[in-house]
Symmetry: C2
């Protein structure tokens, strides 16, 4: 059971979060995650035309920036926004990114 570490919100820097969403695909992912739900990482479901490995790369950058967490259930990995923490640390940011 692999563990996917996320940074403590105290260590999350705004400029790193911005760097994470400063990419069309990653911004789109965050837009989909705006509903707060955990979404399976299955490539087909995201409507973007890149390979598995590229998607995995984007998911990793989002996670390491502090924006998301990964939930593992068996073979299925789900990704979810860390909304509550983000709203506390960067008020209005997620809203502004996902309107």
């Amino acid at each position: 059971m692999t563990d996917y570490p996320i940074p403590a919100m105290d260590d999350v820097e705004l400029v790193e979060v911005l760097r994470a969403v400063a990419d069309p695909i990653r911004l789109h992912i965050v837009g989909v995650l705006a509903d707060g739900e955990a979404h399976p990482k299955t490539v087909d479901d995201w409507g973007v035309d890149v390979t598995k490995s590229t998607m995995s790369h984007h998911f990793k950058i989002l996670r390491e920036s502090g924006l998301t967490r990964t939930l593992v259930e068996g073979r299925t990995h789900c990704i979810q926004l860390r909304r509550v923490e983000l709203d506390e640390k960067f008020p209005g940011l997620v809203d502004a990114l996902t309107r």
Copy 2:
């Protein structure tokens, strides 16, 4: 009298704005501009340790992204946030970036 063109706000894309602020120096510049005033571009006043040409480069990216405008008065160039337009197009974004 050189003219520094800025994109119409209709043509400004969120991901380009994010790309512009996804750099420590440029985010810092935007933070200084948060007061809404026009600031002279004079390097010494920004508290960052880069050359004139690098600053000029950053100012250009901010302007082309749609975040700022440049006001020319003689030898002095001033930079200013396009706050009203930005707040209308991306509600809460500038606030979240400069809180």
